[in-house]
């Protein structure tokens, strides 16, 4: 029974995709693997935390990239020894990882607790404020961020070759994807979805609604922290500008491009974004249509605008719609409510 249930088309596709991804270092150029795909994995995990909060909790967070940054800064502060910028705690690199994740999770808990009594647009705006204030905190308190950022951050020796980072990224992505999806069927996940649909009813059933929201935000912060550590390993440095309002918006934009209620969408959106960011400006076409002066952001903004106008469900949503139509031609499929449970794959 269980074995057969695992053998669905979706799961086979996922397994094939993972095999393909693991084989990529032998198939594609080092640049494509170490730059495009590694970034996709890291950003995909961070974007997946937005999807997690939006889909199960009905909370659209703009603070996720701040948490990525907090983890990065904290790792830098903890791992570097005296003489460098920042706090220079000089911890063992693995201990530094634990420290970074612990701090990030704690920050997420505090921020989540403060926001736990607001919902919807209020939550969106409050997390935007978090993101901007967080940026200012790192920009102004140089003790934490080093003057002009923390540089020459080394990753642990085990992670030395870039391709290992890629494998870690793939592994983490698979874990996060499966974990978040499985969470939807657990008590905590169901509870969170109940809170999303009707918080008052949940309270009368005995649930602590603000606490559920807080813990969901904390869990998302923990995962964002993992992505942040990977990111700072990959980048080797971090500065306040990298967590300014712009990057925070871009992470949300990735989730939106991919489809904010589909976990697949997080990685899809990250991939599309990184691909566009890397190659779009090289296309000769861009010169021809006379927007050389206008930069990349105009294009990406226009793409998001187009997606939001056409389908707020993003690319994954469009794909799902096409698939439904192909599978059941002619029949008018009832569209599942946004953020509804996925049919158990």
């Amino acid at each position: 029974m269980t074995a057969r249930r695992l053998l669905t088309r979706g799961n086979i596709g996922l397994a094939l995709l993972v095999v393909l991804l693991l084989a990529m270092p032998n198939l594609a150029s080092a640049f494509f693997v170490n730059f495009v795909l590694t970034q996709t994995m890291m950003l995909g995990v961070a974007a997946a935390t937005i999807v997690f909060l939006a889909r199960y909790g009905g909370m659209v967070s703009l603070a996720q990239f701040l948490l990525v940054g907090v983890a990065g800064f904290m790792f830098g502060n903890a791992a570097l020894e005296g003489g460098a910028r920042g706090l220079n705690l000089g911890l063992n690199p693995w201990l530094a990882v634990v420290f970074a994740i612990a701090v990030t999770t704690t920050v997420a808990f505090v921020l989540g607790a403060l926001a736990s009594r607001t919902t919807g647009l209020y939550f969106l705006m409050l997390t935007l404020v978090y993101a901007v204030i967080g940026f200012f905190v790192f920009a102004q308190i140089v003790e934490l961020s080093g003057p002009g950022g923390i540089t020459s951050i080394q990753r642990p020796d085990l992670m030395g070759p870039p391709v290992r980072l890629y494998y870690v990224g793939v592994g983490l992505s698979v874990l996060v994807y499966l974990g978040f999806r499985a969470l939807g069927r657990t008590t905590f996940g169901l509870t969170l979805q109940g809170v999303r649909d009707d918080p008052i009813r949940m309270a009368s059933l005995g649930f602590n609604v603000p606490m559920h929201r807080t813990l969901a935000f904390t869990l998302a912060g923990f995962v964002a922290g993992l992505s942040g550590v990977l990111h700072v390993w990959w980048n080797g440095q971090i500065d306040p500008a990298s967590i300014a309002i712009g990057p925070s918006l871009i992470l949300l934009i990735m989730a939106v491009i991919g489809g904010i209620s589909y976990f697949e969408g997080a990685w899809l959106g990250a991939f599309v974004y990184v691909l566009a960011f890397t190659y779009l400006r090289d296309l000769p076409l861009i010169d021809r249509i006379g927007i050389t002066e206008a930069r990349f952001n105009t294009v990406i903004g226009a793409v998001v605008l187009l997606i939001m106008v056409l389908s707020p469900e993003g690319l994954a949503g469009i794909a799902a719609r096409v698939r439904r139509r192909v599978r059941r031609p002619g029949s008018v499929a009832p569209t599942a409510p946004a953020g509804g449970p996925s049919s158990a794959a």
Binding site: L114, I141, R295
Partner: protein, 357 residues
């Protein structure tokens, strides 16, 4: 079983409930009093010094707070007006702010006939007022276009609207960078108000008081519009119950359009004031979106009264934190802003004058 029922006398019950509700209020009040006591008596090692020892600095900081609050109010009132009626979070508010500032600077340069190093003495009152009106009108028209093209047809899909305006922000920021370059620009106050006056032995810029005057004028006009005209009444009614307003035969689409126009105009006005006050540069749009957000989150979304209260509170924190934190901690002023936000949200999750959606 009956015997176990302890029926508390009604009096004590009422007191207990009051205590429960007031606990965070007391904590916040205590924090505020502590901060005030610190500022007045103990703030010795700070840039400004304790108020009893150095009253001049205190008055100047107070003036800074109130005048900055004026600017905050102009910038945030349009945001809260639009949200209150239409439940649209206009993420492009900061972009309209910045655009109006750039346009006004261009117009002023054209009117004065010089592009850099404009001297205040060359700027007549009209050389400031006309660019202000032009800049704000451009912002208002663009706001109206955004509303008509992108927001009008998906009313009620609040998140989608927020994301659409977010995307517009990204595009506008990029295009403004292309058009106006990456350098900081500045509006020049009219020469007539570019003076200093003396208060408690300290020099203070008249331009800041002028800015406050403009803000108060805007506030009064806004109040008159909302309270004394039938359109204003319709807008307030719409904040309470949009559907019922429609049920009374009022063309809500037209009201929406007017509101978005006025709200964007206010954003533009704020932009011109901000450009005169501190100058603008790429990134100012994000800063002022943040400022507007902090004000309305503190004051309560959709409430003009809340925008006033939020501006004053936030302005106070912005002015006092750097002046009265111990010198070596001045960089931590931003934390105080966060603390203000945290304190307000702990007492009222939807802001001082806000109501849950």
């Amino acid at each position: 079983m009956t015997a176990t029922l302890q029926r508390a006398p009604a009096g004590s019950t009422r007191r207990r409930r009051t205590e429960l509700r007031r606990l965070p209020v007391w904590a916040v009040a205590a924090a505020a009093v502590a901060a005030a006591v610190w500022v007045v008596f103990f703030a010795d090692g700070t840039p400004a010094g304790a108020a009893v020892a150095n009253p001049g600095n205190f008055v100047v900081t107070l003036l800074d707070a109130v005048t900055f609050a004026g600017l905050l109010f102009v910038a945030a009132s349009g945001f809260t007006l639009i949200f209150g009626l239409m439940r649209t979070v206009n993420m492009a508010h900061g972009s309209l702010f910045l655009l109006a500032a750039y346009v006004a600077i261009r117009v002023q340069e054209a009117m004065v006939g010089r592009s850099r190093n404009i001297d205040a003495s060359d700027v007549g009152l009209l050389d400031w007022v006309v660019p202000m009106l032009v800049g704000a009108t451009v912002a208002a028209v663009l706001g109206l276009v955004i509303q008509q093209v992108f927001l009008q047809w998906n009313e009620g899909q609040e998140l989608r609207q927020a994301l659409i305006t977010l995307a517009i922000t990204v595009v506008l920021a990029d295009q403004m960078l292309r058009e106006f370059g990456g350098l900081a620009g500045r509006m020049v106050w009219p020469g007539a108000v570019t003076h200093f006056f003396s208060i408690m032995g300290e020099r203070y810029a008249l331009t800041r008081v002028f800015m406050l005057g403009v803000a108060v004028l805007v506030g009064v006009l806004l109040w008159l519009w909302l309270n004394k005209t039938s359109l204003g009444m319709v807008i307030r009614a719409g904040v309470d119950d949009r559907q019922m307003v429609r049920g009374l035969g009022i063309n809500i689409k037209r009201v929406f359009a007017v509101t978005f126009f006025v709200g964007s105009f206010l954003a533009g006005l704020g932009g011109v004031l901000g450009a005169s006050f501190a100058g603008v540069a790429p990134g100012t749009d994000g800063d002022w979106l943040l400022n507007a957000l902090v004000v309305v989150i503190i004051g309560g979304l959709g409430s003009i009264k809340g925008a006033v209260a939020g501006s004053l509170l936030y302005g106070t924190v912005v002015a006092f934190a750097p002046a009265y934190l111990p010198s070596q901690y001045s960089f931590y002023a931003i934390i105080v802003t966060f603390a203000l936000l945290a304190m307000v949200l702990a007492v009222r999750p939807y802001g001082l004058f806000g109501r849950p959606a």
